[in-house]
């Protein structure tokens, strides 16, 4: 047990099934009598549907049914709901256009679902789908974020003039204007935060099933949050009460945000299973994922930093246009507002900040949270701006940060953009990173690269993120339409083993190991006696799921709260059996001990007494040892850190090689350092991917998705990235949750992009290139070098 508790690199218990091919992902499940669905999707970005002819498809071999919007409407099926209402300037609510499950009248993006074909086999469904004839009348197209609000841009939704969803602001505009008026230095920057595709390796899948005997619907789905899907689909789309709807998210092959949302296919298979009287399975192929999974980022931003003569930041001004795509995905409106502008203070004591965000509709796949969600966008602009400020003022890049960091002594620190940071030692993290990278030795390394004909650059980035989402009252006041607590149930079994039911969901994070470590340590029982259950609404009391690096901070805290209830009840039981007052019982290392004596009961003995209550305080206490806790966080948590990247650029080819990458992160208390480091590595590569290779591109004229497969969308491969040096600093734990944890899932992605691009700019600046947008592909770098030379 000593080597399985908090802080130990326990090897993962989930690995055996994944390593032996015995995991159970949604597409691995076959239900008796199962048939297959194929979705007919729009090949056009914007078009009117004049006629749908399904006759030939219905006659095709093996086909059970073909459904369109009219069938859904006849059954009263609702549209896909949005989970967050953002109010813009003057408290004006966002425009929330209808989001039908199957398109009606108009399709608004490539991949917009129009019909569903159900057949006995997967290939029969696919073959028949080709026979569905849809007569489209093309409409003019807008895919560009920057052009969406132009007066001549085609309008997507009648109730959204200029394609504007909302025009929102945060911060003190007057204070910012005044600061700029007296600034010694003004540094400006225009940036594009490129659109990305999440690309979890498991494509989405869903199986709907209906039990006529009980009237119960079951949905197996690739979800990060099965209870949220049950709530949204049950209440808003299919009108099935929760007790008749079970949602199961079994093993899920990665999410990164893209499996948070309630998608049309989930509602379609659940609804269709009842219509055809058979379980209905749908599995996306990758091409389908590219046009139906919510995408990420896609901001166009102008920003400026005002500094005094000593390089102290006076004010930050940010104007962003954020692309929502063709419809609002479940949490889309919150991402470029409350998860973005609120992070613009970064680690700095900038006294005045003002941010304006216009969210726009375009003929593109909907955009929503993708790993980091708003926070990478905030970090990216801020750290690019800080690095540019260093160049412009001649102050060293580390020194200018040092001068502006919020000191540890200033915690808790109220930023001018709503958040209150509770903890962090920003200076220490950067100093450590500078030491590990040997910052002083950079000049010599650069000279060495130059001797080999290569341009070397170094880039810093520091970041802070608001995780542990979220205090429900705060989130509610900002427009969230749900609570954001987490739930845990600890169920002792009569002979002393434990099942822990958590409302979080793992799809790579290793909760089955980390949570078991936590429970083993807190209850003093062997880790082998702890089972973690998740992902099934029929089993788990409730939960909000896994996203925003919340699982340990909110879900782990809920587990601790349930453990506290177990221990409190255990004390009463032990006091009765040991014939002492409850206050004389101490719980330590799995034992209920009478203070100052050697009289004690083990946790297992107490559990047995609770289930076989022969000697038990039955008058005052119920038998059993099974406690549920809801934990609503008091504040967000604030993981933070410093990343440093060194690159070498080949002047002839434009290829950027990452020579070194160092990440020093403060995640508060670390439960399993091996798992935490793994989360950082993966996050870093998603950040590096955005910076160097990934880009989701729509053709401006035709609106077609040009990067609709792995042939065109460049995923980072093993030889695109280096090995990393990562460390954590646990000296400034979270002050408001019982474990001192902050969360680690998104950090790598948040910090990495800016570090890489700052390094690229630093390398290119030596030959006169001052700015370059992501991704710094060989072509883009080569072109920038060429333009600078001429």
């Amino acid at each position: 047990m000593a080597n399985a508790g908090i802080g130990q690199a326990v090897r993962r218990r989930e690995d055996f099934r994944f390593l032996t091919g015995t995991g159970t992902y949604t597409d691995d499940i076959d239900r008796p009598g199962q048939v297959y669905a194929h979705i007919v999707r729009s090949p056009h970005p914007h078009a009117q549907i004049r006629r749908i002819d399904t006759a030939a498809a219905e006659r095709a071999s093996g086909v059970l049914a073909v459904f369109t919007h009219d069938h859904l409407a006849a059954d009263g099926v609702g549209g896909l709901p949005c989970g967050w209402l953002v109010k813009g300037k003057g408290d004006k609510p966002m425009v929330e256009p209808p989001h039908p499950v199957l398109a009606t009248g108009v399709v608004r993006h490539i991949g917009d679902p129009v019909a569903i074909v159900i057949a006995a086999t997967r290939v029969q469904a696919a073959d028949a789908a080709e026979l569905v004839k849809i007569d489209y009348q093309m409409l003019p197209v807008v895919t560009s974020t920057a052009e969406a609000t132009r007066p001549d841009a085609p309008r997507l939704h009648t109730d959204a003039p200029r394609n504007l969803c909302y025009d929102w602001e945060l911060g003190d505009k007057a204070a910012v204007d005044a600061a700029f008026a007296r600034a010694a230095h003004t540094v400006t920057l225009d940036l594009v935060n490129n659109r990305l595709v999440a690309n979890a390796m498991e494509p989405r899948a869903a199986i709907g099933e209906y039990d006529r005997a009980t009237g119960t619907h079951t949905l197996y789905t690739t979800s990060q949050n099965p209870h949220v899907i049950r709530l949204l689909m049950g209440a808003f789309v299919l009108h099935i009460p929760e007790h008749k709807l079970r949602v199961v998210a079994p093993d899920v092959g990665g999410g990164f945000g893209s499996k948070i949302y309630h998608y049309a296919e989930e509602a379609l298979v659940t609804w269709a299973a009842k219509k055809v009287g058979r379980p209905v399975k749908w599995t996306a192929d990758r091409s389908e994922s590219f046009v139906s999974d919510a995408q990420g980022r896609d901001h166009v931003t102008s920003c400026a930093l005002a500094l005094d003569k000593d390089g102290k930041f006076l004010a930050l001004r940010v104007k962003t246009v954020a692309n929502m795509g063709g419809y609002l995905s479940t949490f889309a409106p919150a991402i470029p507002t409350y998860l973005y502008a609120t992070l613009l203070a970064g680690l700095y004591a900038t006294p005045a900040i003002h941010c304006e965000v216009q969210a726009v509709f375009t003929n593109t796949v909907p955009v929503d949270a993708y790993r980091g969600a708003g926070r990478p966008e905030a970090c990216y602009l801020l750290e690019r701006l800080v690095e540019k400020s260093a160049r412009q003022t001649g102050i060293d890049r580390a020194e200018i940060r040092r001068r502006n960091f919020i000191p540890r002594a200033a915690m808790p620190y109220q930023t001018p953009v709503a958040l209150q940071y509770d903890s962090g030692d920003f200076v220490a993290n950067m100093e450590r990173a500078l030491k590990v990278v040997d910052y002083a030795g950079f000049a010599a390394r650069r000279a060495d690269s130059a001797r080999r004909g290569r341009l070397r650059g170094i880039g810093l980035s520091t970041y802070i993120e608001a995780c542990g989402i979220a205090p429900s009252d705060v989130a509610g006041s900002l427009g969230a339409r749900a609570g954001l607590y987490e739930v845990a149930e600890i169920r002792f079994h009569p002979t002393g083993s434990v099942t822990v039911f958590t409302g979080t969901h793992q799809h790579g994070q290793g909760h089955e190991t980390t949570f078991a470590q936590l429970v083993s340590e807190k209850l003093g029982i062997p880790i082998e006696n702890v089972e973690i259950a998740h992902g099934d609404t029929a089993q788990i009391p409730f939960g909000m799921g896994t996203y925003g690096s919340r699982s340990i901070a909110v879900g782990g805290s809920a587990i601790v709260k349930a453990i506290d209830k177990i221990v409190a009840k255990g004390k009463k039981i032990a006091a009765h059996i040991l014939e002492v007052a409850e206050r004389d019982i101490e719980f330590k290392d799995g034992k209920f001990q009478v203070a100052g004596t050697d009289k004690a009961m083990s946790m297992g003995e107490v559990a047995f007494a609770a289930y076989v209550p022969h000697n038990y305080p039955l008058k005052e206490l119920e038998p059993g040892l099974d406690e549920t806790a809801f934990y609503d966080p008091k504040n967000f948590t604030f993981p933070n850190g410093c990343h440093i990247c060194e690159v070498e650029v080949d002047r002839e080819t434009g290829v950027v090689d990452i020579a070194r990458f160092i990440a020093i992160d403060d995640f508060g208390t670390v439960i399993n350092p091996m798992i935490v480091e793994g989360q950082v590595h993966g996050g870093l590569v998603q950040g590096i991917g955005q910076a160097l290779v990934e880009n989701c591109v729509y053709d401006g004229a035709s609106g077609q998705l040009l990067t609709g497969s792995y042939n065109d969308y460049c995923m980072p491969r093993a030889d695109d990235v280096p090995s990393f040096q990562v460390e954590t600093n646990e000296s400034a734990p979270c002050t408001h949750n019982p474990l001192g944890v902050k969360g680690c899932g998104e950090a790598g992605t948040i910090g990495a992009g800016a570090a890489v691009m700052n390094a690229v700019v630093d390398a290119l600046a030596t030959v006169g290139v001052t700015e370059i947008d992501m991704p710094a592909t060989p072509h883009n770098v080569w072109r920038a070098l060429k333009n600078a030379k001429t």
Binding site: D28, M201, E202, G253, G682, Y710, N711, S723, G748
Partner: protein
Amino acid sequence: MPTVTMTVNGKKMSAECENRTLLVQFLREKQGLTGTHVGCDTTQCGACVVHIDGLPVKSCTTLAVQNEGAKIVTIEGLAKDGKLHPMQEMFREHHALQCGFCTPGMVMAAIGIVDRHKGEPTLAEKTVRHELEGNFCRCTGYHNIVKAIMAAFPLMKG
């Protein structure tokens, strides 16, 4: 429909399938071997790598009927008597998997890398990274996968 017969993980198996059935569909749908995964439709992600007559091959890129009489090993066939293959063991030891979806193909490809370089004294990180090009992992950032393969190399050399 033709009947295809092959030896899968040491057992002879026969099933009817359409000519257009891919090997990966044959394994998953006809043989219930769902450990081999489908992550893309353009032969890039590598989640479906199996060994065909001893060589790592993307099973989405060969038809079942092309493999008549072949000896196939899938992820389910690696562990012997409950004991993991050294590559599986090193993946576990070095935390080289997170969501597990790319893992079967990754492990099968990794064994292929070591097999190709068994005769050499060492295996360079650069070689491993280059030869892993055909396999995507979105979770691990490859760092620990590379470590695991390097660690398996001396164990598999024997």
